[in-house]
């Protein structure tokens, strides 16, 4: 992996994201993110793995205040993002960007690739002089491995992998230091996933970006992450270096996850006890 600075660039502390749920006449508070803490340094990749309902997508959005956390702190270079007002937060967004899961929905269908990539400069005037926009768009396209002719295209004809790379180019337009990636390759074919992963990893090496990488794909995580956090029911049940967690998982849920991963299973021998470890996952539904 890339060389890692020692001081953490992002420190998340006891982050909570609660929703109020009305069932009939009762109103209960439901914690999608139930007290999560972690830190990450420049150049480092922290993977967050979990199944559906674990809260990992909500966590990704809470870190960037795309949903408002209920409590806790998200400290970027010493400043708590949750304490910023709207204008300050908008400015802070330059440093922390997000890549979304669905490449078919995350790009505006009626804007050209060039417009999509240069949108951040429109939103934050003063970062890049207008005269330099086109050149920088072409540079970014080159960095993600797309030909310059794509600049004038609309997203429609582009494939999933190409769109995701456009999304990466857009995210890089503001020269962020942290990228939160919410299952960035899950919607892509495996042979295309590799294209996007290579782009992401070489960019990280080159630019020293910190990645918070949300995924459910354990074999992928093993390749790209330095550390991994296993999330279930809104909490981290285990955190550690990737190799340590994969070879010697401590928490039963981690063990269950690793035991059920097809890439790590030799065969299907063994009993089928219904769902494996349902009590570790389920939340009220039978």
């Amino acid at each position: 992996m890339a060389s890692v600075e020692s001081d953490p660039i992002l420190v998340v502390s006891d982050l909570r994201q609660e929703f109020v749920v009305t069932r009939g006449l009762r109103r209960t508070r439901f914690a999608a993110v139930d007290g999560v803490s972690f830190s990450i340094s420049s150049g480092e990749s922290l993977a967050i793995v979990g199944e559906s309902g674990s809260g990992k997508s909500t966590l990704a959005r809470a870190i960037l205040r795309l949903v408002e956390p209920t409590s806790g702190s998200v400290s970027y270079r010493g400043r708590d993002l949750l304490a910023l007002n709207a204008a300050q937060m908008r400015a802070a967004r330059r440093d922390l960007q997000m890549i979304f899961q669905d490449p078919y929905a995350s790009l505006h269908p009626r804007r050209t690739v060039a417009d999509i990539i240069s949108e951040p400069w429109r939103v934050h005037p003063g970062i890049l002089p207008r005269t330099e926009w086109d050149a920088r768009v072409l540079e970014l396209l080159h960095q993600v491995g797309l030909p310059p002719s794509y600049a004038a295209q609309f997203p429609g004809p582009l494939s999933g992998g190409e769109r995701q790379r456009v999304a990466i180019a857009r995210a890089l337009a503001l020269s962020p230091e942290v990228l939160v990636l919410d299952e960035p390759v899950s919607a892509l074919d495996v042979s295309i996933q590799a294209q996007v992963i290579r782009v992401l990893m070489s960019l990280q090496q080159e630019l020293g970006l910190a990645y918070v990488f949300i995924s459910h794909d354990l074999s992928l995580v093993r390749l790209i992450a330095d550390r991994v956090a296993v999330m279930s029911k809104g909490r981290f049940v285990e955190v550690g270096d990737v190799e340590d967690v994969y070879t010697a998982p401590q928490h039963p849920y981690t063990q269950a996850l690793l035991g059920a991963d097809p890439a790590l299973m030799d065969s299907l021998d063994g009993d089928d006890p219904g769902d494996i470890a349902p009590e570790l996952r389920e939340r009220g539904t039978p």
């Binding site: 960037l64 795309l66 908008r90 400015a91 967004r93 330059r94 960007q97 997000m98 979304f100 669905d102 929905a105 995350s106 790009l107 505006h108 269908p109 009626r110 050209t112 060039a114 417009d115 949108e119 951040p120 939103v123 934050h124 086109d134 050149a135 768009v137 072409l138 540079e139 080159h142 960095q143 310059p148 600049a151 004038a152 295209q153 609309f154 429609g156 004809p157 999304a167 857009r170 503001l174 080159e206």
Partner: protein
């Protein structure tokens, strides 16, 4: 790392839709002969109403009692009387053209005004949310539930019938629909991931609404507006028929239908021709509007598919030679 030296450095990156997308509507129109015909009919009516009236205005108003109730479908009195004459001897064909101008002008004005106002308010309502949104929507509901004809009757009773007042009444009664559609579509588009992406970049809410959401709401409004033209033509005709829409010398199709009402058994053409004109125009607008909606709807894509060629296309591979496992 990248100097971009392998890329030509354009001063501006061209913006273009791929050619296939630009002409898609035209291509698909060619494949639907009925819709294409309706579109042409509408175009002819609109063009006639636009271009011809200045030339025939005087001739259309020419009262000639000697030519009262001349029968249609004969050229004895000249082409102007091809469709007969009305109670005052005015040529039907020319009156129809004048009526077309009035009817279409009223319809288009009403639709454009109602559309713009409703669009703006609807998007604003969705943007602001909260009690303002709720209040605006309740107002829209109230206007919408009152039967528009009654409302129009009441308003036009107070204000005198005229083209302007008719348009005003139509705008007032039709705006709520655009408000609702714009608001609903805005809320729907707002859920898209690209909107979340815009927030992640730091876009303000206002920019997101105007810059990102608006281009996706406009087509929906346009399609609705097209359908509205049909509705408004009918409504205006109805109001004029009742005698509260316009007064002579303004004439529209509805009024012409009313004028001929008393002579249905003896001179049917005075009523029937303007009635037919209303129906054809409204129908054409209706058909076109449905088509516009259908071509954007993926679940109806099978309607626009090119039929498969008659004989099966030759397979490009030599199919299955050799042993198989």
């Amino acid at each position: 790392m990248s100097t971009g030296k392998d890329a030509p450095m354009p001063n501006a990156i061209a913006r273009h839709r791929p050619a296939s997308a630009r002409w898609r509507r035209l291509r698909l129109l060619r494949r639907s002969p009925f819709t294409a015909t309706m579109a042409i009919v509408l175009a002819i009516i609109a063009l006639t109403a636009l271009v011809v009236p200045p030339f025939i205005a005087d001739a259309a108003e020419q009262q000639n009692l000697a030519l009262r109730f001349v029968e249609p479908f004969s050229l004895d009195h000249g082409i102007a009387y091809l469709l007969g004459a009305d109670a005052l001897g005015r040529p039907m064909l020319l009156q129809l053209v004048m009526g077309a101008r009035t009817s279409l002008m009223i319809a288009v004005s009403a639709v454009v005004l109602a559309g713009l106002i409703g669009y703006a308010i609807g998007m604003f309502s969705a943007y602001v949310g909260g009690w303002v949104d709720a209040a605006l929507m309740r107002i829209a509901d109230i206007i919408h539930t009152v039967p528009s004809l009654l409302l129009a009757l009441a308003i036009l009773y107070v204000l005198q019938p005229s083209v302007t007042n008719l348009i005003l009444v139509l705008v007032f009664t039709r705006t709520p629909m655009y408000m609702r559609v714009a608001r609903a579509r805005t809320l729907e588009v707002r859920e898209g991931v690209f909107v979340e992406a815009a927030r992640a970049i730091g876009s303000r809410r206002s920019r997101i609404i105007l810059h990102d959401i608006r281009p996706l709401v406009t087509p929906t409004i346009l399609t609705v507006a097209m359908l509205e033209i049909a509705t408004v033509i009918l409504t205006a005709a109805g109001l004029s028929f009742l005698g509260i829409g316009l007064q002579r010398p303004d004439v529209d199709w509805g009024m012409m239908v009313a004028d001929g009402r008393g002579y249905l058994s003896s001179a049917w053409w005075v009523t029937v021709f303007p009635g037919v004109a209303v129906v054809i125009t409204a129908l054409a607008a209706n058909v076109l509007s449905n088509w516009l909606r259908a071509i954007e709807d993926p679940t109806q894509s099978h309607l626009f598919a090119k039929p498969l060629p008659a004989e099966a296309p030759a397979p490009t591979s030599s199919a299955n030679l050799g042993s198989l496992s």
